[in-house]
């Protein structure tokens, strides 16, 4: 399986690293998207947190939270490797979900935010949040690699 990031034009919705001279800002409906610099962390931190969550066991929060499966963590790892290679800005937060998921969140301009929640191997929910209108939920489903 592999990530199908062409779906919903996800890469264009994410902020590009301003430190990468070869990268340009992404656009959303023609509007450039730029991460709020004050909350940008590093990809290294994101990888480190993901590694930490991969080592969690069930009930990691003492209230019965599910641990992410190895397959889910591995696919999340592959996802952020792709995003980093594409020049996307590191997420502001990398957090575990109590349902065994892992989420990455970016804060964008004008109070908008984008969250990718890896819900299964190579599958994710993408939340586009706007301050003045309902959130938009997009689903990314895994793509099976063609066997040659």
């Amino acid at each position: 399986m592999m990530w199908n990031l062409n779906e919903h034009d996800l890469l264009a919705r994410l902020p590009r690293s301003l430190g990468n001279p070869s990268a340009t800002n992404g656009t959303s409906n023609g509007t450039p998207v730029v991460a709020r610099a004050s909350v940008v962390t590093s990809w290294d931190e994101s990888f480190q947190k993901l590694q930490e969550y991969g080592g969690c066991e069930d009930d990691w929060d003492g209230q019965g939270a599910s641990a992410p499966t190895h397959e889910l963590t591995e696919s999340a790892w592959q996802l952020i490797k792709i995003l980093r290679a594409k020049g996307i800005t590191a997420p502001a937060w990398t957090v575990p979900g109590v349902g065994g998921t892992v989420a990455f969140e970016w804060l964008l301009e004008e109070g908008r935010s984008l969250e990718i929640e890896v819900t299964g191997p190579y599958s994710a929910d993408v939340f586009l949040d706007f301050p003045d209108r309902p959130s938009q939920l997009l689903e990314i489903k895994n793509e099976v690699e063609a066997v040659s």
Binding site: G62, A65, V95, V98, G100, F127, P134, S135, Q136
Partner: protein
């Protein structure tokens, strides 16, 4: 202190225990909406406690194992604001801590059926909780 068998009043506060990862300490809205995500087994709603049934909101931490207690923050949510959001509060007695209740509408099934809607509700809960944090977590993760 109220007995947990007494009706829940609009003037009461409920307590939410919030895992350290769900705090954004540098922000005005310090609590993430993810702090109100139902677990896979929360079919009847997410857990809170009635402050009126405890000597201190921190007593609700008794429900957490000692080793993990310091990783929790504690926030209050006024019942009146939860009711204004259209959320039902149901008593759900447990042995460890008196005053346990459930936010019945915010359960794992409802969340999976309409994540976008519930994320907005969770954001509103996060704003309310952020105004009323009574303890920050002592350890980061």
């Amino acid at each position: 202190m109220k007995d947990e068998s007494e009706p829940i009043g609009l003037d009461e506060n409920l307590i939410r225990l919030i895992w350290t990862s769900y705090f954004k300490l540098d922000f005005e809205i310090a609590v993430q909406e993810r702090a109100f995500l139902p677990r896979n087994d929360e079919i009847d709603g997410i857990s809170l406690f009635r402050d009126a049934c405890l000597k201190s909101p921190l007593d609700s931490l008794e429900v957490i194992a000692d080793a993990k207690r310091e990783k929790y923050g504690v926030a209050l949510l006024p019942v009146s604001e939860l009711v204004a959001l259209g959320l039902r509060i149901e008593p759900s007695r447990i042995d460890k801590v008196p005053g346990h209740v459930l936010l019945a509408d915010l359960n794992c099934s409802a969340f999976k059926e309409d994540k976008a809607r519930w994320q907005k509700v969770q954001q509103q809960l996060a704003v309310i909780a952020s105004r009323n944090v009574v303890r920050h977590p002592m350890a980061n993760s």
